[in-house]
């Protein structure tokens, strides 16, 4: 399975609201730069 397909189906938690966010919804209608940090710090 392609990384983009896998990522689209995953939901992560919004740190500000504690609500789940499905990644695929983010780029449904807009361009997204998705940055994975090594860690917070």
């Amino acid at each position: 399975m392609r990384s983009s397909t896998r990522l689209a189906s995953i939901a992560l938690i919004n740190s500000a609201t504690d609500e789940p966010v499905r990644l695929g919804d983010l780029w449904q209608d807009q361009t997204v730069v998705l940055i994975f940090l090594r860690h917070f710090g």
Partner: protein
């Protein structure tokens, strides 16, 4: 980031710590926009981002660190997985991937000009199709039955290499996040490699081991290697019914998606368990049967449960024996006890497949070929010494377990005996075929324990 936002681009940051870490990070670095947390590394894994100590101690990292310090950057305390590496992806509206960058070492960053280029409307979509079959795969798979006429160049390492030409790389390009997997005998050898691979694919994995120290070492090693924190130890002595019942009470409350019966023993003398069974029979048959029975409801609660019995190619030389399984009236021979119970495991797997017929639970057995394991090393050291160059690694031996547990091609298949990802015959000799009465007797023997 600001210029990207001015272009109407959403910038989303993902970190692997918890929410408190994330909000402190937002405040310290004045982050605007969406900040997501991924403490399970689910998205990191899906994105194919690397982790591991090797990358953290590379010469490239040392160079990157010196450059960062010269430019005034200072790292604060690490919050999250210290071994995880990062990356950057650009998605166009609708989900087309326009840019991907995965760090090869700490301090290895994406080139901003390349990201800018990917944001241009004319940027091309990246072709992400996984590698397909080898061109030789169809021919290799077609020739397999003929080339596998003998265990030599088949059960050995060369056999694995030949068979793997026919494997579809996409079969294990799969995300097991949300799947709950149990592996017995997971502290070393084939069981450990199976647990490691299932963890690496994102599953929650429970290692069922007889010894606390060895089991915990295995859990720690898998957590460190994969970054998967949903890896746990359950103490299980398959020769002790009370220990099995305790494990069932702990594990059977939630659905179970995969149960791998991998624990094995090759005894050099007859050992009687406290419940009066011979140790090989207890470990290979009575114990796993009781465990399967006790976890049946939890398996049926999964929409696609897979039970895998790890047998041995040595069973092909033996007929199912249901007489004197406790070795009371004959002189004990550990190798024969091993092969007989491994034959019985294959039959028992078929009987369990019939029992679960019409449910979501599928049961198969497999054999790993000739593998360099602790059991072989300790039990038959002379054979191990001479055969070592041709023995498979434990990871190669575990490959079919992982395929049966994870691959979509294995879904729904039940009651079969597998070797190197193909269903194969269970009898090489007409003299090893068992009767219906003997099969029924085996079931009763296991039910009675």
């Amino acid at each position: 980031m600001k210029s990207w936002r001015e272009q109407g681009v959403e910038v989303v940051i993902v970190g692997n710590g918890n929410r408190d870490f994330a909000e402190a990070f937002r405040e310290e670095f004045e982050i605007e926009g969406l900040l997501l947390v991924d403490p399970d590394l689910h998205a990191y894994r899906a994105a194919g981002l690397r982790r591991g100590r090797r990358e953290m101690t590379s010469p490239q990292l040392i160079g990157n660190t010196i450059r960062a310090l010269r430019s005034g950057a200072r790292q604060t305390a690490v919050q999250g997985d210290p071994w995880q590496l990062g990356g950057v992806f650009v998605f166009a509206p609708g989900g087309d991937l326009r840019f991907q960058f995965r760090s090869a070492a700490a301090g290895d960053h994406a080139d901003p000009s390349e990201i800018d280029a990917a944001l241009d409307e004319s940027a091309e979509t990246i072709d992400e199709e996984p590698d397909g079959y080898s061109l030789l795969a169809p021919a290799m798979n077609a020739l397999r039955p003929a080339l596998d006429a003998s265990p030599f160049l088949s059960f050995d390492r060369l056999g694995f290499q030949r068979h793997s030409i026919g494997f579809d790389p996409a079969d294990l390009d799969i995300d097991l996040y949300g799947r709950r997997c149990l592996v017995t005998g997971a502290s070393s050898g084939i069981g450990y490699e199976a647990a490691l691979a299932l963890s690496d694919l994102g599953a929650e994995v429970l290692l069922l081991c007889g010894e606390t120290d060895q089991g915990q070492n295995a859990v720690d090693a898998i957590r460190e290697a994969t970054g998967n924190r949903r890896v746990h130890l359950t103490i299980l002595d398959l020769a002790d019914p009370a220990s099995i019942d305790e494990a069932i009470s702990q594990l059977g409350k939630d659905p179970i998606d995969v149960l791998v019966h991998c624990a094995d023993v090759l005894a050099d003398k007859r050992i009687e368990t406290e419940s009066g069974l011979e140790l090989t029979f207890a470990t290979h048959l009575a114990g796993p049967h009781r465990l399967t029975r006790g976890l049946a409801s939890a398996l049926e609660a999964s929409d696609d449960a897979r039970v895998i019995w790890v047998s041995s190619g040595g069973m092909l030389t033996r007929r199912l024996n249901v007489e004197d399984t406790l070795w009371v009236d004959r002189e004990f021979d550990g190798a024969i006890a091993y092969a007989e119970t491994k034959r019985a495991q294959v039959v028992l797997a078929e009987l369990w497949a019939e029992t679960f017929n019409g449910t979501s639970v599928h049961v198969n057995s497999m054999h790993p070929g000739w593998v360099d394991t602790v059991v072989v090393r300790n039990s038959v050291p002379l054979l191990h010494k001479f055969a070592k160059p041709i023995l498979r690694t434990p990871a190669e031996g575990a490959d079919t377990i992982i395929w049966l547990a994870a691959a979509s091609d294995a879904e729904g298949r039940t009651g079969r005996f597998f070797f190197d990802r193909q269903a194969v015959r269970t009898h090489w000799l007409p003299t090893t075929r068992e009767s219906k009465e003997d099969r029924d007797r085996l079931w009763l023997l296991c039910e009675e324990q």
